[in-house]
């Protein structure tokens, strides 16, 4: 099996994000960037499938600016075999990314395309589903277990009511949820090895895709703040407040 994994470069999930005073977006200057956590889970899962003898080749792909090479190197250090950057300075949006990934799928012909369930910057949770639609492939979204079996793949999905398992025909798209695995800690020798792995850079025009954003971000604002609360001394005092002041019980 050949696996493509799409990874996105985002503000590190541990950074406290600040809205820019001009309302044009969030502060990006000197902010720590990282691979989107869900994408890391996707790379880890692909590598585990390879280690289990179920995958032959893993290609990590990203759509974005030249500095996305850093997360592609991380993916190579986790264990991907090679990487492709589709280089653009445009702000990427799910539909454009999905079309780009479709073009890569048509070139690379993978059996599985793995993505994170959501990018923690835009929180869209759309790209995998859109890619699956464009390719006419089945989708296993919010995966917490992935098991290839005889030309199909079983995917356990985290849904609102609990868990659900579906069986998908290959090729298929899978988007990963938090409990699929715990990504490994990357060791230094693997980081060194990753520097020698192949990383191709292509332009959207080479793939015949248009990444121009369809949606216009009119403004970005601070969320409304909650007013400061109080500390209570005891459980009894808490119950009194909830009954008599807040009147919620």
């Amino acid at each position: 099996m050949k696996i493509l994994v799409a990874i996105k470069r985002v503000i590190d999930a541990n950074v406290r994000v600040r809205v820019r005073s001009d309302g044009a977006g969030v502060e990006m200057a000197n902010v720590k960037m990282a691979m989107n956590p869900f994408c890391e889970i996707a790379v880890e899962e692909a590598v585990r499938l390879q280690e289990a003898g179920k995958a032959r080749e893993i290609v990590a792909v990203s759509v974005g600016a030249g500095n996305c090479q850093d997360i592609l190197r991380t993916a190579l250090a986790i264990g991907a075999d090679r990487a492709i950057l589709v280089e653009t300075d445009l702000e990427t949006q799910p539909l454009g990314v999905a079309k780009t990934l479709r073009a890569l799928a048509e070139r690379e012909k993978p059996d599985l395309f793995m993505l994170g369930k959501q990018a923690v910057d835009d929180d869209n949770n759309q790209t995998g589903q859109m890619l699956a639609a464009l390719l006419g492939w089945p989708q296993g979204t919010f995966a917490s277990k992935v098991e290839p079996v005889d030309g199909r793949v079983n995917v356990m999905r985290e849904i609102d009511g609990g868990l659900e398992t579906v069986s998908l025909k290959l090729p298929a798209v899978i988007t990963t949820d938090l409990r699929l695995n715990e990504p490994r800690y990357v060791k230094l020798p693997n980081i060194m090895k990753a520097k020698k792995k192949r990383l191709d850079i292509v332009k959207p025009v080479d793939l015949g895709v248009d990444l121009a954003p369809r949606l216009k971000i009119v403004k970005v604002a601070e969320p409304s703040k909650r007013k400061a609360g109080i500390k209570v001394e005891s459980a009894q005092a808490l119950v009194d407040k909830l009954r008599n002041e807040a009147k919620v019980i």
């Binding site: 503000i11 994000v17 600040r18 809205v19 969030v26 869900f38 799910p94 539909l95 959501q118 910057d121 929180d123 949770n125 759309q126 589903q129 890619l131 699956a132 639609a133 989708q139 979204t141 917490s144 079983n154 999905r157 985290e158 849904i159 609102d160 009511g161 609990g162 868990l163 659900e164 398992t165 579906v166 069986s167 998908l168 025909k169 409990r179 369809r214 949606l215 216009k216 971000i217 009119v218 403004k219 970005v220 604002a221 601070e222 969320p223 909650r226 609360g229 109080i230 500390k231 209570v232 005891s234 459980a235 808490l238 119950v239 009194d240 407040k241 009954r243 807040a246 919620v248 019980i249």
Partner: protein, 313 residues
């Protein structure tokens, strides 16, 4: 303008989040249709037809719609979308699974997690785990939206009398099959729908200790939630997770016990009306957004809280 809402249901009853989608649609247009696609789902159709503000219900009944597989539903939605300006579903795992697939088939960019409708083409949605609110203008001929049930009141489930039309099923796609489901069965109210939610975090320390949370939940008629750390540790099932990547709740009262208040958790509960935090660390960030904070060891505080609730005022 014409809105089509994709109903979420289990072939027997409508999920309440669909009622919030109706309210969101009504903020855009008076012409609101609900699509009920399922298998032997007549009771859902009847329920949908009674929702106040719904003019028409489209009913598609076929065995390949039984499990709401996105591969099957998306082409049906596309068939039903002719003349529609807004396709709307709730921002649940159902809506998030199906709507982007339908949008891609229509070649339009969808808008997820809408919390406010500024105009028929401009919507507000949280980004960065709710650290920022983006106002997004969508120039697409069909706006495909998922809307948060916490941000729109539920439409009245009665009083309407929509006309019902049958919609021919689309040809089965057959790319995916449903195998099984392990659904959480609980006599408690649904997490996203409860007036009171009490959530436990890593501080609980074990699945057994969640009994302390259950005890309070029973007394308050509350739903139980959890932080990601508590779910990852196996104390409770995945569908208890509240947060950026779990469920979003906005009850009258949210009680966070042994939860530090990471931004990803706050993303799922900070719009609750009243927030209570119980944590032994006075510096825990959860206190920054709590209306009432109790700095205490939960193993002492929860039994005391239970006793205090027993005492009638």
């Amino acid at each position: 303008m014409r809105a089509l809402i994709i109903a979420e249901h289990d072939n027997r009853a409508l999920r309440k989040a669909t009622l919030a989608a109706v309210t969101a649609a009504r903020a855009i247009t008076d012409d609101v249709t609900v699509l009920v696609a399922g298998w032997n789902c007549k009771s859902v159709v009847e329920e949908a037809a009674k929702i106040a503000g719904v003019g028409k219900v489209l009913h598609a009944d076929a065995v390949h719609y039984e499990h709401a597989l996105a591969e099957e539903l998306a082409p049906l939605i596309v068939n039903a979308a002719a003349g529609i300006t807004h396709l709307i579903a709730s921002a649940t795992t159902f809506g998030k699974n199906v709507m982007p697939r339908a949008a891609a088939l229509l070649d339009v960019a969808p808008v997820a997690d809408v919390v406010r409708i500024e105009s028929p083409d401009t919507f507000v949605r949280p980004i960065y785990a709710g650290n920022a609110m983006a106002t997004v203008q969508c120039p697409e001929p069909v706006k495909v939206l998922t809307v948060r049930a916490t941000a729109f009141a539920a439409a009245a489930p009665g009083g309407g009398s929509a006309i019902v039309e049958l919609l021919a099923a689309a040809t089965p796609v057959g790319l995916s099959t449903f195998i099984s489901a392990q659904l959480t069965v609980s006599s408690r109210p649904e997490l996203t729908d409860a007036k009171v939610v009490i959530s436990g975090g890593r501080g609980l320390g074990s699945a057994e200790n969640f009994r302390l949370i259950e005890q309070i939940a029973d007394k308050l008629g509350a739903a139980i939630g959890a932080s990601r750390a508590a779910v990852d540790a196996g104390y409770v099932p995945n569908d208890y997770q509240v947060g950026q990547t779990g469920k979003v709740v906005a009850p009258e009262l949210y009680i966070a016990v042994g939860i530090s208040g990471a931004i990803q958790h706050l993303a799922g509960m900070k719009d609750s009306k009243v927030i209570v935090a119980i944590n032994k660390d006075a510096e825990a960030p959860i206190f920054e957004i709590a209306d009432y904070g109790l700095v205490a060891d939960l193993f002492k505080a929860l039994p005391e809280l239970s006793a205090a609730l027993d005492k009638r005022p």
